[in-house]
């Protein structure tokens, strides 16, 4: 029963803390990149993946999303990119309620999010440059605007020299940096990184984290789901912990494991 009692205690404290963070500064609320209000997600098979989740991520924040497998991290991310719709509650991304979003506008909202995966999801037959440019081509960006944008993000992630190589010729870290460049090329409001260091060794993982921190310094909000306890504990950023579909902890300067 300890498990069920602690989540019920958590939301109140979370709300209080959120109020403290945002309180007295209404501009901050208006400029929240992401607001989840009482979000519940029940899958058609009856499984409740998320229950009464409240989460506000202000612009410029860097948030770690932690929790065991099956805690609801993937579901949360799917809700943010509107791959799934919440059963109850509101998901508001950059001021837009995703539940009320017409289907034809979904693609436009997705361009406000840059997403990075554990398995990179690069096209093996395209070069680094083409992989990044692909994100702009398929969204109808005029040819003249593609080249400077791609060159700029490749410089930012430090892959200008490797731009003509195929993903297969790159190291894991370089592949992930390519994926990050692709996520950045639309100038997104929010970068969602789903276990970005899951396939990388510790040293390379740190490189990727450093890159994400630098992007965050440039003003892009970052939400990173991870199992990497060392990174979370060392950085002392905001940590949102999910367990059995509920937020059990949301603290700034948090560590990976809960201190009981």
């Amino acid at each position: 029963m300890t498990l069920s009692s602690s989540p019920s205690a958590a939301p109140a404290s979370v709300r209080r803390r959120l109020l403290r963070r945002i309180g007295g500064d209404h501009v901050a609320t208006d400029r929240a990149v992401l607001i989840l209000h009482d979000v519940t997600k029940v899958y058609p098979n009856g499984k409740t993946a998320l229950g009464d989740v409240d989460l506000v991520i202000p612009e410029g924040d860097f948030v770690f999303l932690v929790g065991p497998s099956g805690a609801g991290k993937s579901t949360l991310i799917k809700l943010l990119i509107r791959d799934e719709l919440a059963t109850r509650g509101a998901v508001i991304l950059d001021g837009q309620d995703l539940a009320r979003l017409p289907r034809r506008n979904v693609s436009k909202v997705r361009r406000k999010i840059g997403i990075v995966f554990q398995d990179f999801k690069l096209l093996p037959t395209k070069t680094v440059w083409e992989n990044v440019a692909f994100a702009l081509e398929v969204t109808g960006t005029p040819r003249g605007r593609i080249r400077p944008a791609v060159d700029r993000v490749l410089a930012l992630v430090g892959l200008t020299a490797q731009q003509s190589q195929l993903p297969g010729q790159l190291s894991g870290g370089e592949q992930q940096r390519t994926a990050i460049a692709r996520a950045l090329v639309h100038d997104p409001r929010l970068i969602i990184a789903d276990e970005p260091t899951g396939n990388l060794d510790p040293l390379i993982s740190w490189e990727i984290i450093q890159l994400l921190l630098r992007i965050n310094d440039l003003g892009v909000t970052v939400l990173m789901a991870t199992h990497n306890a060392d990174v979370v504990t060392a950085l002392r950023k905001r940590v949102v912990a999910l367990e059995e579909g509920r937020i059990i902890r949301d603290e700034v300067g948090g560590i990976y494991h809960r201190v009981d």
Partner: protein, 294 residues
């Protein structure tokens, strides 16, 4: 708009060659299926022509009295021509009848015994071709009422059984063609689906980076259209090469039939090109839909 079309066409072209094996497999399936479709279409056309030919043989024959004068005959002919159900009237004189009879005997290699006769035993007759072989009642009545007509040959039973057979064959031919068309549809749609599924990852990435449905769909639709047109072109090539040998083989068959080669060729080209293009587009459209935003 221009960017979009150029992008879609470029992507379709890239996609076709990037997964060349898959695309060629889809094209090969397309060719085989279109050949099947075209083959059955030709058979069907032959069958229909055969049936029409057979039905055109149905006519009402009225034997004339030997006392009938040429003026009587002309008068009957004129009256028949006025009837809407009559297509053509042909007068066979007694001499003609004998000549036809002798020719038929000679053809069959029988001894001509008629030369031993001292008078022509045959009657002159009127052969009436009908617009619709099923509607002969009025014509028969009219002829029976003519004083110069000896007797009207009763063909009702023959006509009825012939029409039953031709109707069954006609329906069966159409049903078989529809079934074949459905089979072709399913096989082609599934082959294209395989080609699309092989690129599921690419589609997923497009969705994640915010590509709109149109940007995801149209390159695949164009690619499907390419497969369809290429398949249709190859099929027509094969048919063109095969047309002469088949034509020679069936020459006896076709010379009998009132088959219009020009129309058939045009129909086949329209059918193959249309089916190829349509199936290619439909196949991609249906296959990509699975991956679009829900």
């Amino acid at each position: 708009m221009f960017t979009f079309v150029a992008f879609s066409l470029k992507r379709a072209w890239e996609g076709f060659w990037r997964n060349a094996l898959m695309s060629l497999a889809a094209t090969a399936t397309m060719v085989l299926m279109l050949l099947l479709l075209a083959g059955f279409w030709i058979l069907q056309a032959g069958l229909q022509a055969g049936l029409e030919y057979t039905e055109s043989k149905v006519e009402v024959v009225a034997d004339l009295k030997d006392t009938a004068t040429p003026a009587d005959v002309t008068a009957i002919e004129d009256r028949l021509h006025l009837m809407p159900e009559v297509k053509d009237v042909h007068y066979v004189s007694r001499e003609d009848a004998l000549a036809i009879y002798r020719a038929r005997l000679a053809e069959q290699g029988e001894t001509d015994l008629t030369r031993y006769l001292d008078a022509n035993p045959l009657h002159a007759s009127l052969e009436v071709k009908l617009v619709d072989p099923k509607v002969f009642g009025d014509v028969v009545e009219k002829l029976r009422a003519e004083p110069a007509v000896d007797k009207v040959k009763e063909q009702q039973k023959t006509v009825d059984s012939l029409l039953t057979i031709t109707n069954v064959l006609r329906t069966a031919g159409t049903v078989i063609l529809i079934v074949i068309a459905l089979i072709v549809l399913f096989i082609i749609v599934n082959t294209i689906r395989l080609a699309v599924v092989a690129r599921a990852e690419e589609i997923e990435i497009m969705r994640l980076v915010g590509a709109s449905d149109a940007f995801i769909r149209w390159p695949f639709v164009f690619e499907g259209a390419m497969v369809g047109l290429l398949g249709a072109a190859l099929t027509l090539g094969v048919l063109f090469v095969a047309a002469d040998p088949i034509g020679n083989f069936m020459i006896g068959f076709f010379t009998v039939l009132p088959l219009r080669f020009g129309t058939l060729t045009r129909d086949i080209i329209v059918l193959v090109a249309g089916a190829g293009l349509g199936l290619g587009i439909l196949g991609s459209w249906v296959s990509v839909r699975t991956y679009l935003i829900r």
